[in-house]
């Protein structure tokens, strides 16, 4: 289970959100741009240090004190694929595997490669592939280590709908198969609805609603949420 209370002072407001996500559960963070959703994920991942609060994952304290990144067992995917440009695609995907795990995980890597259609670009330098391909590689690289917690910060932004549908399908499949806990931030309510049954709405760094998608859509807690959920 993820148990997090993130307090982070921002210039405009202080992010102060407590959330609990059960093991194997997928939870969405929904809200307007700049509401503090990405800050929450970055603090849980360890990319940013919270100013106060606590983060535990399956009973292991991640903060405070701050647990080194390599011991966290977290997969973190953002809008930028952040591939290692000096490595080939295959080397990026296998980056997180130790030598022993590489042999043991060969079948798993092959599954990731095949399902995400990485075979044609497997030997290409990571710096030479397209943005959509880079997101697929980043997803494979993150899942290669079979993390206990997956944090997705708008990883599908600016991708065509066909690719988004494909990646969502793959994620749902692997979450069921591996049972990892997942927290997803996205602007697109469709994306969140596909991945998560539960959603937490954030406004100016505060939680304003914690509900199922149906509840959120039928009874949004604030006028801003209603506007965000309204069709174009």
């Amino acid at each position: 289970m993820l148990d997090a209370h993130v307090v982070k002072v921002r210039p405009r407001f202080t992010v102060d959100v407590a959330l609990r996500v059960l093991s194997g559960e997928a939870c969405g963070l929904f809200g307007a741009s700049g509401a503090g959703k990405s800050t929450i994920l970055a603090c849980i991942a360890g990319a940013e240090a919270p100013d106060a609060g606590h983060v535990t994952l399956d009973g292991v304290t991640l903060f405070p004190p701050s647990l080194p990144l390599h011991l966290r067992g977290i997969g973190y995917l953002t809008q930028d694929a952040n591939l290692f440009p000096h490595l080939r695609v295959g080397e990026n995907v296998r980056f997180g595997l130790t030598n022993g795990a590489r042999d043991a995980g060969a079948a798993w890597i092959a599954e990731l490669r095949d399902r995400l259609q990485l075979e044609p670009i497997w030997q290409e330098p990571a710096s030479a592939i397209s943005g959509g391909q880079a997101r697929r590689v980043a997803l494979a690289r993150m899942l290669a280590r079979k993390p206990r917690l997956v944090l997705l910060d708008e990883p599908f932004t600016a991708l065509d709908r066909h690719l988004v549908r494909e990646l969502l399908g793959a994620l749902v499949h692997w979450q069921r198969e591996l049972g990892f806990t997942m927290v997803v931030v996205d602007h697109e309510s469709d994306v969140l609805a596909r991945l998560c049954e539960r959603v937490i709405a954030i406004e100016d760094g505060r939680m304003v609603q914690d509900a199922s998608w149906d509840e959120l859509r039928s009874e949004p807690a604030t006028p801003l949420l209603a506007r965000l959920l309204a069709p174009l």
């Binding site: 991942a45 360890g46 390599h70 977290i74 290692f84 980056f95 997180g96 710096s127 690289r141 280590r145």
Partner: protein, 250 residues
């Protein structure tokens, strides 16, 4: 376009013109005091190499720290580093000989058998002082080219800080680090003013060229000058060209 190119070519020719001095007839070249000249080459190359090991060992962790420090703190560190870069060499030499002299730290070092005047130790310490600021500032710029999120990903993918440095940070920043090192190399190898004060002996190439010029005139200087140019120029030149080529590819 052609006119601009011709203008640039004239500029470049003027820039390289001092090298024409190598072809000016100054009489038959001679090694002056041959053994002294060869000793100077050896002293310069060996001690500069030792100084560079120290510069990299001390400067790289400092550069890593400064590159990842908060903006305001980073400014302070860079201001301090700039002082070491901007100090006039002759002034630095005098300050070093005073600071490491018998009335300061030198008294303790002397008791430990470490003399800080006219010794190999004085030579290397001076070279480190004149060059480490260049290396650290250059290394900070090189490390800036490595996006922090890549290092975060490296960590979350199970690699500790040391492993992330060697597998992510260093490969991406290595050409920039090489450029920084080459600048430090040239700065240390060619240092004259500060070395003249702290370590006139053992004489390195700059001091040997100066004394040859004083004692034997230009014909005795030219061979050493060639060696000086050959040892000082190619490494930084190549590092810069490679870095530029990589930048133009990116």
């Amino acid at each position: 376009m052609l006119l601009k190119r011709v203008g640039a070519a004239i500029f470049a020719a003027a820039l390289l013109y001092p090298l024409a001095g190598l072809f000016v007839p100054v009489g038959a070249w001679q090694w002056g005091n041959g053994s002294v000249a060869l000793d100077a080459v050896r002293v310069s190359l060996v001690f500069t190499a030792i100084a560079m090991v120290v510069v990299v060992a001390l400067g790289t962790p400092m550069a890593l720290y400064v590159a990842r420090a908060p903006a305001r703190e980073r400014l302070w560190w860079q201001a301090i580093l700039l002082v070491s870069v901007l100090l006039p060499p002759l002034a630095l030499g005098i300050l070093l000989s005073l600071a490491f002299g018998p009335h300061a730290l030198g008294a303790f070092l002397d008791r430990a058998g470490l003399r800080m005047t006219n010794t190999p130790l004085a030579f290397v310490v001076t070279q480190v002082y004149v060059s480490i600021g260049y290396y650290v500032l250059g290394a900070v710029a090189a490390l800036d080219s490595v996006p922090a999120p890549l290092e975060v990903q490296g960590g979350l993918l199970g690699h500790d800080r040391w492993s992330v440095f060697w597998r992510v940070t260093f490969p991406i920043a290595r050409l920039g680090l090489a450029v920084a090192l080459s600048l430090a190399w040239v700065r240390a190898l060619t240092e004259f003013g500060a070395i003249l004060i702290t370590a006139y002996y053992p004489a390195g190439m700059p001091v040997a060229i100066w004394t040859s010029l004083e004692n034997f005139g230009l014909p005795a200087v030219m061979p050493l000058l060639i060696v000086f140019l050959v040892t000082a120029l190619p490494l930084p030149w190549l590092a810069h060209i490679l870095a530029q080529r990589r930048l133009s590819r990116a």
